[in-house]
């Protein structure tokens, strides 16, 4: 069906082919095609992002958005670049929320729980309200990793917080006023760097890089003209792309550059 989309009160901005639904951005109504993501719908409505948008692929965490649906008291959450609009939703983006990040000297910091407790004493203000877990767009069990950190279980905290994209929505909801995601990052750094056994294959690769294994290839690329680069990037023969749903064992047939 082809319609004329009224945007805002009475301005006609576009002719599109799809059903339109009303959404409310910071309280103001816009009628937008129902197939758009929140991010595209906002752009459709005239917003221009200079912050609050990064990868557009659900990875960078720049576009955290909260919304409510009609007849539902719950706060819903999603990444604006990933979440499709719903009829009647009220939304606002919260791309940034002020959060305390303690600077620490990685070399000097001992790999003990007390180091994290000292950097973030507000950890112990957690009352297990679980608002953090409920708002996480990545379904990270935030309250659970906070609990693990409080008992010094860095391995568990690392595991549980691994999917965090640092969007900061947890911190926006925390009644203990802590920035859970910064605390978890400190824990992951200490655990990954000082507690977990080192990956031997990584050391081998680093040595290879240092020994100049990839130097020639990179130099060639640097010197290549645009046409060559396009050819390398686009051509199926020149560039073997890992299939979408490949198995863990997938390897390219040509591994000259690995």
């Amino acid at each position: 069906m082809s319609t004329t989309a009224p945007i805002g009160e009475d301005k006609i901005v576009a002719k599109v082919t799809s059903k339109h639904v009303p959404i409310y951005v910071m309280g103001k109504r816009y009628d937008v095609p129902d197939s758009l993501t929140i991010m595209k719908a906002m752009e459709y409505a005239g917003y221009k992002f200079i912050r609050g948008c990064g990868c557009r692929g659900g990875i960078c965490g720049a576009c955290g958005t909260v919304y409510k649906k009609p007849d539902d008291y719950k706060i819903h959450v999603g990444l604006a670049c990933q979440t499709v609009v719903q009829e009647g939703m009220h939304l606002t983006q919260i791309p940034f929320y002020p959060a305390t990040r303690t600077v620490f000297d990685y070399e000097q910091t001992p790999a003990v729980a007390e180091a994290v407790f000292k950097a973030y004493p507000e950890l112990f203000r957690c009352v297990a309200c679980n608002a953090c877990t409920k708002i996480c767009p990545m379904d990270v069990p935030v309250m659970d990793y906070v609990a693990a950190i409080k008992r010094g279980d860095f391995e568990k905290a690392t595991e549980l917080s691994f999917d965090c994209i640092q969007c900061g929505l947890c911190a926006s909801r925390c009644m203990a006023e802590m920035a859970q995601y910064h605390i978890a990052q400190m824990v992951r750094r200490i655990y990954g760097g000082k507690i977990k056994p080192k990956a031997t294959h990584l050391a081998v690769m680093v040595d290879n890089v240092k020994a100049g294994k990839f130097k020639d290839g990179l130099e060639q690329l640097k010197k290549a003209d645009v046409a060559t680069l396009k050819q390398l990037y686009m051509s199926k023969d020149a560039r073997e792309i890992e299939p979408n749903m490949s198995e863990d064992e997938w390897v390219p047939t040509n591994n000259a550059y690995l």
Binding site: A113, A128, N130, M143, A147, K150, R151, D153, M175
Partner: protein, 296 residues
Amino acid sequence: MKVSYYPGCTLKTKARNLEDTAIGALAVLGVELVELPRWNCCGAVTSLAQDDLLHMLAPVRDLIRAKEQGSDKLVTICSMCYNTLARANLLMRNDAEKRDALNRFMDEEPDYAGEVEVIHLLNFIRDEVGWDKLRAAVRRPLTGLRVAPYYGCTLVRPAEVAIEPAVDATVFEKFIEALGAQLVHNPGAFDCCGSYQILSHPKQALAASAELLGKAKNKGADVLALSCPLCDYNLGKRQNELVADHGLESKLPTIYFTQLLAVALGLDSSLCHFELNHEGTRSLLEERNLISTVAV
């Protein structure tokens, strides 16, 4: 026999000597303490404000974790965790209005109405293992060791969560006797160690600690048995200060009841982590030939 087990944060850090000995010793007695796969801090202290529901969330969630697992019992060891969990549980059982508010607030959790029973490990041993079986399992009786039990506050107050009614309580005494030790009746068994007052009123707290240790010492105790990491902090870890500045005449080592149990059952003393106790504890047991001297 398996039973759901809530460890608490302190047992994972500063009081490993309390947890590891409990798990090791209970295994010998045929009991597997199965740690809840998900748990959070119990909140550590019960809020005394009537309308402070917020601080009930943490302990109630832990109880829900146990219920979720299909358990009707949750065993815990730390006196403070026991007190906090047991009191939150009573509230969920008895106060319909607050139960409703808490259940509504935690709308991501199944409803809870106090279905799980919170049990302190001493009572669990009394009821599920039994003194006879315990006595029979002892490999290294604590013969001649004069042990004074110390309940402190949180195992017996308030009365509705007491593991046994204070003053008449005998569970700790029977436990000590079953291990072959010589029981010392402790007139300070229910005194307060000073608890968190050590932070706000250190002088008074240290005085309280010195006084209660003195009472047990006067009765001829060699060692004070306890079950609370905070009590052990005040009574054990700060003991040198008590002797130096607060009128305690001589030292009285402190020990977790689970460490006594592990020693009596003949478990390897490395499990006991005596390095986390006051230094007098290990030397006392070595002197009595209850553990072998090991190079540290």
